[in-house]
Amino acid sequence: MCNLHGELVEDYDNYREQLLEAGLLLGCDVQGVYGLSGTFEGIIEAFERYVTKNGKPLNPEVVRFPPILSRTTYLSTDHIETMPDLMGSIHTFKGNQKAQLAMIDKKQQGEDWTSSLEPADVMMVPAACYPLYPTAANTVLPEEGRLVDLRAFVFRHEPSPDPARMQIFRQREFVRLGTPEQARAHRDFWLEKGQEMLKGVGLPVKAELANDPFFGRGGKVMAATQKEQELKFELVVPVASEKKLTAISSSNCHLDHFGSEFNITTQDGNFAHTACIGFGLERIALALLKTHGLDPEKWPQEVKQVLEL
């Protein structure tokens, strides 16, 4: 176990160094936060166009939210109960001039200046679909349900040497709100479609039954339950390491979890079920760079063609 951990860290360090050296990632003084080069961002833009093209026949509504959401909305999801260790809470300074001087004094003394801060009204978005549900609260869905195309930066506090585990990254999602059958069909459709799309750009993905990283020992019960119910599948591929594969997409059924919390109902009066497919955009770029090489100009012709690079 220790050996594997050591080998993994070595793999992470090697790939991260290659990316930094090639100028694709720009480092920062904390783990898991990077600047991205034009080439890197170009890969993400190309993949996003590919996603848009594949989703177009389904005629989704397009909505874009910022990477922050209200504290009230945050608390309406169960993130604080399930993954509190990943949350990002935004704090700011609300004091007077005297309090400001006290804060600066703490900073200059090397003391904890953050004790002068107070919570703002907002939290970091933990998953791209979270800000959507309050906008659909207390509505009755049309018979065909709703399909929404989302993209947002999401935050997860899990600093890591693995370049594929960023603290803030983009998720591109298609979310379905509808009957249990519509939600399940959406998940199943995209689980297949996602594999087809990723294999179409030369990524040897495989689907795996998965669970969210629920917190603590109680989280193990939640994870086992999620797996038993086959609610989450991930598409995994080697990124930094061949020994531990990395999820670059996930397809999830939320049952009526958000429907009941936000009182979103279907025509028959029951709480709506929701499901989503998410593509981890930075991870997909990292997987492409790992698989086809660090210079996209030298990627296989068919991959460049599909991505219109």
């Binding site: 020992r217 109680g218 193990k220 019960v221 086992a224």
Partner: protein
């Protein structure tokens, strides 16, 4: 003996929608409203009361699925 104690802890920490005294020992606790978060509270309370620690292998949906199953697991862990 464990069954009665488990029932007592369940009624304090289970946050069930069906009162514990209306449940059979083999009733499905998830049907009775046991949520995943309540399971965590229940687990910690059982550990305190019986001075045990649930190993990872016992942290499954099945363990907490009925009064009977909880009591059996507690008994196994107390030995």
């Amino acid at each position: 003996m464990n069954i009665e104690k488990v029932r007592e802890i369940l009624s304090t920490h289970g946050r069930l929608t069906t009162p514990v005294d209306q449940l059979q020992d083999d009733s499905d606790l998830y049907q009775a409203g046991l949520t995943s978060l309540a399971t965590v509270g229940l687990m910690l309370a059982l550990e305190d009361e019986f001075d045990i620690e649930f190993p990872d292998s016992a942290l499954s949906r099945k363990t907490f699925g009925s009064i009977e199953s909880i009591a059996e697991t507690v008994e196994d862990l107390s030995e």
